[in-house]
């Protein structure tokens, strides 16, 4: 069975947690004791109806305030697919948690309150989803019951969303009018909106194509082979005296026994002699498989190196990076600040050279002349690294094109970056 990972995003109170509660409830994925607990919790809060949001808002502070602070992951399956849902927070203050949940998603559901239309957080989350290269975006126009299931209201939101999406180059958008509270167009088609002839949400989620090669976002085909080395396996035992295996996860492409490979950054070449998963010998490996590779030559390879195929397009190896960055920390990013840059299994120091522009979420314009980035800012920056990194453009390869920034003083992850090579 195939696995689809999706996230929900949108502004506060647009009904993300309620939608997930509804999906779980109507697909019969809620267990009796969970429902009893939610019923009791709703009652003790004085809610008249069962509050399905309490299924995912699991933290004490979230339940007290009725908001989502951090991502909650939920799991359900239908006869057609298995799903992993990341229910992400709407508050601007917790944007970093929204990015956390969305960064591994194949699809993003952006909720819009039919009464309020496209808001600042709708734009921010749509923009982030697009920068993250999430292949499909579903705009779920929620609370249709509160606008008398009006087709006109829905169409107006579609038009204004499309205008914004065009300015930000967001593609592959599907619009669905729903009422999460009552279940219209969530699992079952709504009788209240006969004018909507598309699939209800769950049916769409069950049938949308998922490329399991998640590293190739907008490109077709498999892409070139990339294998960041995680760990070198050397048993040094009497049974395996000479075994030397390079452990990692195939980031993209395909590798076969007999392939001529090149190790970066050294540039040394060798040949693949074995591909194994524990004791099983394989003839080839694809993303996202974790395997161990053995080579015909004893060459110097360690964690952070990348194995590629000698006959395929080579990745970039440079010390200057241009990245789209989402900033997460209260300490602002400043020009000339130093951070630890972690990319695949590699790590080096980096210094911020320039802030090329910051995106104004309200006007969608690029602001120049910015000297620092505050929490939740999205911008394009350039970074100079102490060692060359081996990378691809994020649009071609999510694994080798992504970086995180770590503050060397606090050890905190302070920013997420997507490398641009064009």
């Amino acid at each position: 069975m195939q696995l689809l990972r999706f996230s929900t995003a949108g502004s506060v109170d647009d009904g993300k947690s309620t939608l997930i509660g509804r999906l779980l409830y109507d697909s019969k994925s809620i267990f009796e004791d969970q429902l009893e607990a939610v019923e009791a919790a709703s009652k003790s809060r004085g809610n008249e109806e069962v509050n399905l949001a309490l299924l995912t808002d699991g933290l004490r502070a979230e339940r007290e305030q009725g908001i989502t602070i951090d991502v909650a992951y939920r799991y359900f399956a239908t006869p057609k697919r298995k799903f992993i849902i990341a229910d992400t927070p709407g508050h601007i203050q917790y944007t970093r948690n929204m990015v956390t949940g969305a960064s591994t998603a194949d699809l993003s559901i952006i909720l819009v309150d039919a009464r309020h239309g496209v808001l600042e957080q709708t734009v921010r989350h749509s923009y982030i989803s697009s920068l993250l290269g999430i292949p499909h975006i579903v705009v779920a126009v929620n609370k249709m019951d509160l606008v008398d299931f009006s087709e006109e209201v829905f169409n107006n939101i579609v038009v204004s969303y499309k205008n914004m999406a065009q300015a930000l180059h967001i593609r592959n958008i599907t619009f669905i009018p729903i009422s999460a509270k009552d279940g219209d167009n969530v699992v079952n088609s709504s009788e209240n909106m006969p004018w909507y002839t598309g699939a209800p949400l769950l049916e769409f989620l069950e049938t949308v194509p998922v490329g399991k090669d998640a590293s190739n976002v907008h490109t077709e085909g498999q892409g070139a082979f990339r294998f960041p080395v995680q760990y070198v396996i050397r048993p040094i035992s009497s049974r395996f005296p000479d075994f030397r295996g390079y452990a990692g996860r195939v980031a993209s492409g395909v590798v076969r026994v007999g392939d001529r490979i090149k190790v970066l950054p050294s540039g040394l070449e060798s040949e693949v002699t074995h591909i194994t998963q524990a004791a099983d010998e394989l003839t080839e490996a694809y993303p996202p498989e974790s395997v161990t590779i053995q080579l015909s030559d004893d060459i110097d390879i360690s964690r952070g190196d990348v194995i590629v195929r000698a006959d395929e397009p080579q990745p970039h190896q440079e010390q200057e990076l241009t990245v789209d960055v989402c900033w997460f920390n209260e300490n602002p990013l400043q020009i000339r600040s130093k951070y630890i840059v972690r990319q695949t299994t590699n790590e080096t120091l980096g210094i911020v050279r320039t802030i090329n522009f910051r995106r104004n979420i309200n006007t969608l314009e690029k602001e120049s002349g910015v000297t620092q980035l505050n929490m939740n800012d999205i911008a394009e920056i350039t970074v100079h690294t102490a060692q060359p990194l081996t990378f691809d453009d994020y649009r071609q390869n999510k694994v080798t094109g992504s970086v995180i920034f770590i503050d060397p003083d606090t050890n905190e992850t302070v920013g997420a970056g997507m490398i641009k090579t064009e």
Partner: protein, 299 residues
């Protein structure tokens, strides 16, 4: 394009996480309870580093209130893998006055384990403790990162977790702090059993139907063992039961079941209408009991 199954994808993700732990930390340890999730973790670790030995010791926090089958299984497994076993004893924590034994009908050593766990982590200078917790188990666990930071008091701060982007894990920390790592975060109970069947992993007999002396309390069947004090009205009877989760005897609810095989168990889980932790008395103490225990440093 490879047509990869969900089990293969989950296995690959977990092996990736285990290898990151080996690469990023100096003294990692696997928290081994003898339950199905930690058994799967050990199996994944075996696969991740083959043909080398698992580069982590196993740590069992022993409440002293175990099913004998759990201890037998643990010792046989450690023996087979040639792994190092470390036991942290809750009895010892009680004897040395680190914790105080609860009393009454609902007395349990479940909560006391936290002190023993943190003391053991401290004693051996472990910097990463690998656990089998899954996000689908419980609503506070649904919020957990793969790499979950703990401060010098062993505390979890759920309101301010580190962002965790893509599969780039940040295991950096100050002296005295540590990480909890959850490689099977994204697995469900069903995934675990399907994987056990696929990999033909030998399981403790407790998971299969057996005859046991039990009594009913608050709608739950519990094992009639000396460590639980019976109320005057509670009657001990013999039933065909199995464990759906294995923890301390005092808080492990038993399921009436006739499941003899892994296939039977999978069929039973597919049809059940209650969650696996529905039988865990430790989660029922309050609405946020898991979150409260986790903040204090629990598994």
């Amino acid at each position: 394009m490879s047509n990869i199954t969900h089990l293969k994808e989950l296995e690959s993700e977990s092996i990736y996480v285990l290898r990151e732990v080996a690469a990023q930390f100096e003294r990692p340890v696997i928290l081994f309870s003898g339950g199905k999730d930690s058994i799967v973790i050990v199996h994944l670790a075996y696969k991740a580093f083959y043909p080398a030995k698992i580069p982590f010791p196993l740590l069992h926090i022993d409440t002293g209130h175990n099913f004998q089958e759990t201890i037998d299984y643990r010792d046989a497994l450690v023996n087979r893998l040639g792994a190092e076993l470390i036991v942290g004893s809750v009895q010892e924590s009680i004897d040395t006055g680190r914790v105080k034994e609860e009393t009454g009908y609902y007395a349990s050593r479940n909560k006391l384990q936290t002190t023993t766990l943190l003391d053991t982590i401290d004693k051996y200078h472990f910097d990463a403790a690998i656990g089998g917790a899954r996000r689908d188990e419980e609503k506070a666990r649904a919020k957990e990162r793969f790499f979950s930071h703990r401060d010098e008091f062993g505390q979890w701060n759920p309101k301010n977790q580190r962002p965790e982007l893509w599969n780039i894990f940040n295991g950096k920390k100050a002296m005295g702090e540590h990480f909890r790592v959850f490689p099977i975060s994204n697995w469900t109970e069903m995934d675990v059993w399907q994987y056990i069947l696929q990999e033909k992993i030998e399981m403790p007999s407790l998971y299969f139907t057996h005859e046991r002396r039990v009594f009913e309390r608050d709608g739950q069947w519990l094992a009639a063992e000396p460590c639980i004090k019976l109320k005057p009205t509670e009657q001990v009877v013999t039933k065909q039961v199995r464990c759906r989760t294995i923890g301390d005897i005092t808080c492990t609810g038993l399921t009436l079941s006739t499941a003899h095989s892994l296939e039977d168990i999978i069929e039973e889980i597919a049809a059940t209408r209650v969650t696996e932790r529905g039988g865990r008395a430790d989660d029922k103490r309050s609405e946020t009991s898991m979150e409260d225990r986790k903040k204090a440093g629990y598994f």
